[in-house]
């Protein structure tokens, strides 16, 4: 089920909330939690019930392994060592992800390298598998290292499946979540949380269906067309995607956090105005924050440890490797590996720059960072390497420059080799395209983000009116179904 669907907003969410709080009011904590788990699994199965056994199996498997690790008694060695249990658990998770996500990539790569003709398996990626796999690997690591004290299957299953975050994050940590579900017993409906949660939810919905879905038409037309793009439409398509991705993914994260608040559960913040960043280090402190934390803790640090004695150059190597893996985690393709590599490289340069204490004026830093991120998202969005290179070619002006018909009278422009005509036809654009792209810049750079806005909300009529307008506008624009971009990862 999508957050941006009528069945979710008008039926699923209100019904889940209502039953949940009725049960809590009756002090039936167990029943309330079970209801939330049931609702989450229902939410998951709505898309395809065939994958319900998969997620349940994954939860039971990891919970069992986690339990074995947490209770392993070092003084009474068993036939199987603790390390062996841990390694088996982690490998099983990685294999599951490989099977569903990377099999075809491996087969295609093998075919390309060896000249074989193995058929592709065309496995449908189960929703959320990338997310519930890595949160559970973190759980196993913590259990292995003695950090898992609380053992409760219901709390654990809720931590993994709680429907606001299940499909695309924020990436949760069991230590932050399980105690919250443990403490639920006395929680009754909190009007303030409900109000603020609704506010954040509808701001997120607005970002998704009004803003992101508008940019998406030009981005899709530009990236999916086979005809060569001239300079201006190529840039507009790339920028459209960069804005679409931000408003889509941060809108989704806002909705997730907002829904969490309605249930009195606090989810971590995932975005903090990333396009204000003046450097790559800064960017990753603001973009997909929960992923940055996860990668730093469970990827970067083990790599660094494996390198032995710490030197600056080794830490740079570890950063690059961690970002490369993070890129591949996003998707099974060379484009994602290149995307990860670019960001790894960007971080390495930024750290080296900082280490030498070289100067970087804020405006120049922003210009470099934003453009670098924009270029990297060309690889992130393009369906293939060829596709990405074609887009970059257009942005470099290899397919010439075409401007609007009305400028055809200018002899100077014509002398420069510029042609005139339906300049934005290739991306199905109109004047609205460049106006919206231009307007997006001051919004992402100077405006307060949704969380900052919600932190100022007061129980006043003016705010309530804003809520109604945002909600009404979003619901009107919701007629078309569009998935969130991060569902494909």
């Amino acid at each position: 089920m999508l957050f941006n669907s009528f069945e979710f907003i008008l039926a699923f969410l209100p019904a889940t909330l209502l039953v949940y709080f009725v049960l809590l009011r009756q002090r039936l904590t167990m029943a309330a939690k079970s209801w939330l788990l049931f609702a989450s699994l229902f939410f998951y199965s709505w898309w395809n019930v065939r994958y319900l056994p998969l997620i349940l199996g994954s939860i039971l498997f990891n919970y069992t392994i986690g339990g074995l690790l947490a209770e392993y008694d070092a003084d009474r060695p068993k036939a199987v060592s603790k390390r062996a249990i841990f390694v088996t658990g982690v490998i099983a998770n990685i294999l599951l992800l490989c099977w569903f996500k990377y099999m075809d990539f491996f087969i295609a790569t093998a075919n390309g390298l060896l000249g074989t003709h193995l058929p592709l398996l065309k496995i449908v990626l189960p929703l959320g598998i990338s997310f519930f796999t890595i949160t559970q690997i973190a759980f196993l690591v913590d259990a292995y290292e003695g950090l898992v004290e609380e053992r409760n299957l219901l709390n654990y299953a809720l931590f993994v499946t709680f429907f606001p975050h299940l499909l695309a994050g924020p990436i949760l940590h069991h230590k932050d979540m399980m105690p919250q579900f443990e403490r639920l017993r006395n929680k009754v409906v909190t009007w303030k949380n409900l109000y603020l949660g609704l506010m954040l939810f509808f701001l997120g919905l607005f970002k998704k269906v009004v803003v992101a879905d508008t940019f998406s038409q030009w981005a899709s037309a530009g990236f999916d067309t086979t005809q060569p793009l001239t300079l201006v439409p190529a840039w507009l398509a790339a920028l459209s995607y960069t804005f679409q991705l931000y408003f889509d993914f941060s809108g989704y994260s806002d909705m997730a956090v907002g829904i969490g608040w309605m249930f009195n559960v606090s989810l971590p913040i995932n975005f903090n105005s990333p396009y204000k960043a003046t450097g790559m280090i800064d960017f990753w402190k603001r973009w997909h924050i929960t992923l940055t934390t996860f990668v730093t803790t469970y990827l970067y640090t083990p790599i660094l440890r494996a390198f032995g004695r710490i030197t600056f150059s080794r830490s740079l190597g570890a950063i690059f490797l961690a970002m490369l893996i993070s890129g591949f985690w996003h998707g099974a393709g060379w484009t994602f590996i290149i995307w990860g590599g670019m960001h790894g490289l960007g971080l390495v340069v930024n750290h080296a720059w900082k280490k030498r204490k070289l100067p970087m004026p804020g405006l120049l830093g922003w210009l470099i960072t934003f453009n670098f991120v924009n270029l990297s998202f060309v690889f992130f969005r393009a369906k293939s390497l060829d596709n990405a290179l074609r887009m970059l070619g257009g942005m470099a002006g290899m397919n010439g420059v075409m401007l609007h018909r009305s400028l055809a009278t200018s002899k100077l422009l014509a002398k420069m080799g510029i042609t005139f005509g339906g300049w934005l036809d290739a991306i199905k654009g109109s004047d609205r395209t460049w106006i919206m792209v231009l307007c997006a810049f001051p919004i992402v750079v100077f405006w307060k983000n949704s969380l900052e806005i919600v932190s100022r909300v007061r129980p006043a009529w003016s705010w309530f009116a804003l809520l109604l307008i945002v909600a009404y506008w979003s619901l009107l624009d919701m007629s078309k179904v569009s998935e969130f971009l991060y569902f494909q990862f």
Partner: protein
């Protein structure tokens, strides 16, 4: 028993700043180079120096020098 004085050289090396002096209350806000990444470098450097091992999941939560010191002493005990 590990003390602030024994931590100081490690901090100075990781953050490449010879002027660092530590108090128990020192946090990332007091040292310019101390960010989430160099934090991890610091913790791994402490591991190597004191031959202790931190759990990955507890590293990020160490907010100030005092907490680090206490955890190291707990692990050495």
């Amino acid at each position: 028993m590990t003390t602030l004085e024994t931590l100081e050289p490690i901090f100075r090396e990781v953050f490449d700043d010879k002027s660092i002096t530590l108090r128990r209350e020192t946090t990332a806000d007091d040292i310019e180079e101390w960010d989430s990444l160099t934090h991890m470098n610091l913790v791994v450097a402490l591991e190597l120096k004191f031959k202790v091992k931190f759990a990955l999941g507890e590293m990020q939560k160490l907010k100030n020098v005092g907490e680090m010191l206490d955890l190291i002493n707990k692990k050495l005990a």
